[in-house]
Amino acid sequence: MKISKRPGGVLGIVAMTSIVALSLSGCTRDGAGQGGGSGSSPGITDSAITLGITTPLSGATAGPGKCTVAGVSAYFGAVNAAGGVKFGDGKTRTVTIKSYDDAYDPQKSLANFQQMVSDNVFAATAGLGTPTNRAFREAAISQKVPQVLVMTGDPLFSDRKQSPWQLGFVPIYQNEGAAFGKLLSASKGQHKVAILSQNDDYGKGYVAGFKEAIKDASNISVVGEQTYEATDTSVDAQLTQLASSGADVFFNAMSVTPLTISALQKAQQIGWKPSWFLPSNTSSPTAILEPGGAAAYPGIYSVSFAKAPQSPAFAKDPDVTKFLSELKQYGNYPDMPAFPHCMWSYMVGATLEQAFKSMTEPTRDSFMTALRNIKDLKAPLMLSGTAVDTTVDGQPAVSSVVVQKYNGKGYATAENFG
């Protein structure tokens, strides 16, 4: 390597800077990408509307990330093939999806958002990830660009005052914990609950929801509470301690797959066999419960709001077969979806379509009003007992989940505990 200490060094710098600057010029500012003259927002014409998705398409979270694009593309691919969406203003438009890879990097997701604005995207939607969505939340607010139905359990996105241009799609962590708490307090018997939670917003959210739901139930008592760090490699000590409390229900708000498996194994080894509650993202029958030997426990409970295409119970369900064929044809996703995000983003498509149908003007304002006014929408693939409801402040579009019980192969809806 040569040492470049030459008289032209500074010249080189300024020259290069000028090149970069000049190569980018050539177009001039048109009001920071805001508003066309004719009263309609950017990204919407009389025949088409463009939506943007920034999501991880490479890196460790690429699997769920690809699903978020595939589901929306599948839904609108089929809708476009049938002619498009008839909007509330009487015009029929086709829906174009532009996807951008952020590799789960906040800096890149902000860059992608800025790119979307310059690409004249009407709204950002369906993107996966808390930090990546947070990174451009304030920019979206200040530029009045909708950032809606995003895949994060962070409650901030569903707070209307703080996030006027946002709306989360998936249930917040509290919703999941609360659903299980409700089921448990409705049961007849006395139950002693041991709680293990991840020491961050994720674990705290689950526990807060659960405790809120059992607050008035006299038959439920919390007898032990432990936390662990997301980076811990073992929770054996916590498990031993919780086992000694004699609890018959174990509420485990854990987001790390290998830890969940080893916890399932360890508790059996020390002879502690309570009923378990596991969050929706760490309760996969094939990836977690089978290797963990979950059949040894009286019950493993989790929550869901989407029909699982893998489950034999839904193999012939019309929603599921339609979904799978559209995913293959329009979503560029020929395999059986490995992540629930495929189903979720398909529902995002249905929710957006509903909002489009009732927006009366081709503007972002009108879209947000329409979007915040959806009640009791049974999107395809939703389990009975759940629905899209965007009218409640502080809640994401889907806040209703059903508790499910593991039956040795997959999950079935649990009407009551035990």
Partner: protein, 357 residues
């Protein structure tokens, strides 16, 4: 060719060009569309980080795989300071100083170890940094990250936010590049070069390799902290993802591609870091990693000296193609930097580069 370079060598011409570039840079944000400004802002952020990396790796030859840790640290300190309502100049100084202090402490220990051992120690930084950022949630906001807005354009300026951010980044980046340029051209730069070549020779000349390495590492950390400050000016948000280890490797790749041991190369490296994801996104968002790898390989095969060697490579190509050295030059996009005779004027620094073809 010869006339152009001799004209460039003249001091008055160089000053005139520098003034011209300064005017262009000052006027650019007012004329460019918002997205171009935002892109340039992000280039500035990473150019400073790459510049720091270049000082410790390109100039001093010490492998540093933890630069992103200092960027993240600077960003967190900035976010914390802004949210506490500190004066913004204090925040900037705090970001640089805290990164510098941590860098110094790490370097004091790491520089005792030779060669690759330093690389191992620096790997540890981002690996420890991410869980640390998650755990210290009082300061860092935990895994949800932390927002801080201080770079919105004030009312009186009449500027858009992106223009205001451009000027903030321009001031800090320009200062960083001028300081770095003076550093590597002065006696410390010579010390860095000797330590890089041969530590025994350095010691025999009265230059302590240990202290030189610590110095280079600390300066790199300070630049990392400054880059973190700029990161927050540009992104207004930081989270543990910011300092993940993968980004450190990307910074390293950006440095090599821009041109190791070159000040202008750091700027090109910053541009590479920002542009390539944008380009690959435009090609096919599903294949970004693949196309980024292809671009990386292509640049390294065609220009082993980095993008900064492009003018030289073109010139050489032009000379080889046509036997006529004056008329056969391919059109250039850049004012051609420095043929060798010019460089020789610089004096003692250049002994080394001449005996290494």
């Amino acid at each position: 060719m010869g006339t152009v370079s001799s004209a460039l060598g003249r001091r008055s011409v160089r000053i005139a060009l520098a003034v011209l570039a300064a005017v262009v840079l000052l006027a650019a944000p007012l004329l460019l569309p918002a997205f171009a400004n935002q892109t340039l802002v992000r280039i500035g952020v990473y150019a400073v980080a790459v510049l720091g990396l270049n000082i410790v790796m390109g100039y001093t030859g010490q492998v540093n795989l933890g630069q992103i840790f200092f960027v993240g640290l600077g960003a967190y300190v900035t976010a914390y300071g802004v949210n506490q309502g500190w004066n913004i100049v204090v925040v900037f100084i705090a970001a640089c100083v805290s990164a510098g202090v941590v860098g110094l402490l790490v370097a004091l220990a790491a520089a005792r170890l030779g060669g690759l051992a330093i690389a191992m120690v620096t790997i540890a930084l981002p690996i420890v940094g991410v869980p640390l950022a998650k755990r210290l949630d009082e300061f860092t906001g935990g895994s949800q990250g932390i927002s801080a807005r201080f770079s919105d354009a004030p009312e009186w300026s009449g500027l858009y936010n992106d223009q205001w951010q451009f000027y903030i980044v321009l001031v800090v980046t320009a200062a960083a590049f001028l300081l770095a340029r003076s550093l590597v051209r002065g006696k410390y730069g010579r010390a860095f070069a000797v330590v890089k070549e041969n530590e025994a020779v350095a010691a025999s000349m009265g230059i302590s390799p240990y202290r030189t390495k610590v110095l280079a590492f600390t300066i790199a950390s300070i630049f990392g902290g400054a880059s973190g400050f700029l990161y927050l000016a540009a992104v207004q948000y930081t989270s543990p993802e910011t300092l993940s280890f993968g980004h450190s490797i990307s910074l390293l790749a950006a440095m090599v591609i821009g041109g190791a041991g070159s000040i202008a190369g750091s700027l090109l490296g910053g541009a590479y870091y920002i542009f390539v994801p944008q380009i690959t996104n435009a090609i096919d968002p599903n294949l970004t990693t693949l196309s980024q790898g292809a671009i990386l390989l292509a640049v390294l095969f065609l220009l082993p000296g980095g993008l900064v060697s492009l003018p030289r490579a073109l010139r050489r190509l032009g000379r080889r193609r046509s036997g006529r050295p004056t008329s056969g030059n391919p059109p250039k996009t850049a004012p051609a930097p420095h043929p060798v005779p010019e460089a020789a004027l610089e004096g003692p620094d250049n002994k080394e580069r001449q005996d290494r073809p």
